[in-house]
């Protein structure tokens, strides 16, 4: 398959005073064009850090020390910060866990979406505003104008996450990285958001890297599943075979956890 993203031997260190902690070591992952890959693993296994490392938006005290991240034919780790910024938000976008705290509380939702549009597209304010309304409609928001003029604290988590998705897709990225985007939401809202992501993926044709600790979601949306354990990718398999023939013990653990939830 023609790979959009090819990560090999990624290693990430955290620096705490004089201590060096290796959070990720041995992270290999491929994502094809239009493919949905679910990255699963318990919390603290290094999923989020690995995702942030792709466009190098890591915390200050974390650094990629080894490996390669080939995106669309070029190694992102070899790019300088200016070249990387041109890719962030344009070719690779993110959706995060808690929409209400990942949106800036002092700017309206509309302002934040317009900022994303005008950063990567040469548009006037009016054009950007018109596109903002269209984007909000595309994520199934009923009254886009009202939402555009609202502050994040005035809206529900579900609405914020829709608006966030609209913002992330503003410049038609090739890869959307969704880091537990539904964990903070109600089950019904979660289902709606998942459906929305799948629909948008089909119409816009992006690849989706979906991070979760919940294998139920993997079964519903994934083409392939990668399982992460203690900073390593320990198993990658098509979604059908991961449930029927798990190889790594942690995959089995995750599956049994999922089956227990299913039973309740």
């Amino acid at each position: 398959m023609d790979d959009l993203l090819k990560i090999r031997g990624l290693k990430i260190n955290f620096y705490l005073g004089t201590q060096v902690i290796t959070a990720v070591d041995g992270f290999d992952l491929d994502i094809g064009r239009g493919e949905v890959v679910v990255l699963a693993g318990e919390s603290g296994s290094g999923k989020t850090v690995s995702a942030l490392a792709i466009t190098r938006i890591l915390p200050r005290n974390a650094r990629v020390v080894d490996g390669s991240i080939i995106f669309d034919g070029q190694d992102l780790l070899g790019l300088d910060i200016r070249q990387l910024r041109a890719i962030r938000g344009k070719d690779i976008s993110y959706v995060f866990q808690e929409p209400s705290s990942y949106l800036n509380p002092v700017y309206t939702v509309g302002d934040q979406i317009m900022e994303a549009i005008r950063l990567h597209q040469n548009k006037t304010k009016q054009e950007a505003y018109a596109q903002t309304l269209k984007l909000l409609e595309a994520v199934k928001i009923a009254d886009p104008a009202r939402v555009a003029f609202s502050y994040p604290h005035q809206m529900s988590g579900g609405m914020n996450q829709r608006a966030f998705i609209a913002m992330s897709l503003a410049s038609r990225p090739q890869l959307l990285i969704a880091d537990e985007p539904t964990t903070a939401l109600d089950v019904t809202i979660e289902s709606e958001i998942l459906q929305l992501l799948l629909t948008l993926k089909d119409t816009l044709g992006f690849s989706l890297l979906f991070i979760t600790h919940n294998l139920t979601i993997a079964r519903r949306i994934a083409d392939r599943v990668a399982v992460m354990y203690q900073g390593k990718i320990v198993e990658t398999a098509p979604v059908e075979s991961i449930f029927t023939d798990p190889k790594h013990f942690h995959t089995k653990e995750l599956i049994s956890a999922y089956e227990q939830i299913g039973r309740i």
């Binding site: 995060f96 808690e98 913002m167």
Partner: protein
Amino acid sequence: MAGYIGRRLLGLVPLLLGITLLSFFMIHLAPGKPTVLQDSMNPKISLDVRNRLEKLYGLDKSLPAQYFLWMQRLLKLDFGRSLGDDRLVMEKIMERMPVTLSINILSMVVLFLIAIPLGIQCAVKEGTFFDHAWTILLFLLFAAPTFWLALLLMQFFGITLGWLPISALKSLDYEYFTWWQKIGDLARHLFLPILVSAFGSLAGVSRYMRSNMIETLQQPYMYTARAKGLPEQTVIYKHALRNAILPIVTIIGLSIPGLLGGSVIFESIFALPGIGRLFYEAVMMRDYPLIMAEVVIGAVLTMTGNLIADIAYAYVDPRIRYKK
């Protein structure tokens, strides 16, 4: 928002009553009781002064009647006449107010112009040599008495270098100056007082700004801003700054008591005709009506400052502004 302001205003009523009551009891601290004969022997208060105070505050009446009289006078902003020159206390204060106000406002501007960028830079460069050096420097500045700094600066700029005048508001030949010269003259006289006054709060405000900024830089929406592809300058000065600077507006209101207290000291050092120096003179001369007026006005200004701080914060923070 309107409801919020209304609630806050209502909360002022008990505070105001408390201020009038407490200041009322203060009057009774004045030495000597009218009924005791030895009063004339008390070197600190002559019989004549005692009689005037008795008349002003109705000290021969019952306590409730006295308090009623005091309240009545306060409502009319009538603090009586100065024991020194028999002029109306309120008039004396009002003519001194502009000097104190303008110095404090200007020093506040200078303070924010230095402290905010400094705090931001220290936060952005947290843990670097720049940050450590400023931490130590500001710790020293924080420990230095303001009036001592004033003396050192007077020594350096006024005497060693001879660049700036070290006292008063105007030169003696001010009246003969052209318009431009007058402005220049005032600026030269005000330079040190404003600098010193700003220095007094520099350490506190810039440290506060630094810690706000450090906290904001760790907020989740900082990741969003970077993930969008924004340049670091925009991430910091648009997305972080707006959030980190909000609480700073409250400082303007909350620093009023400190500024008033500071005014007494540096208006005295620089011989500036403001209400601080007026207070100092009143204390030296035991001008009780003037002292009482300063205390009450100081308390009301502080209370108003707190109110403005709260409202300003509510206004700049949309999370509070749009709450019912």
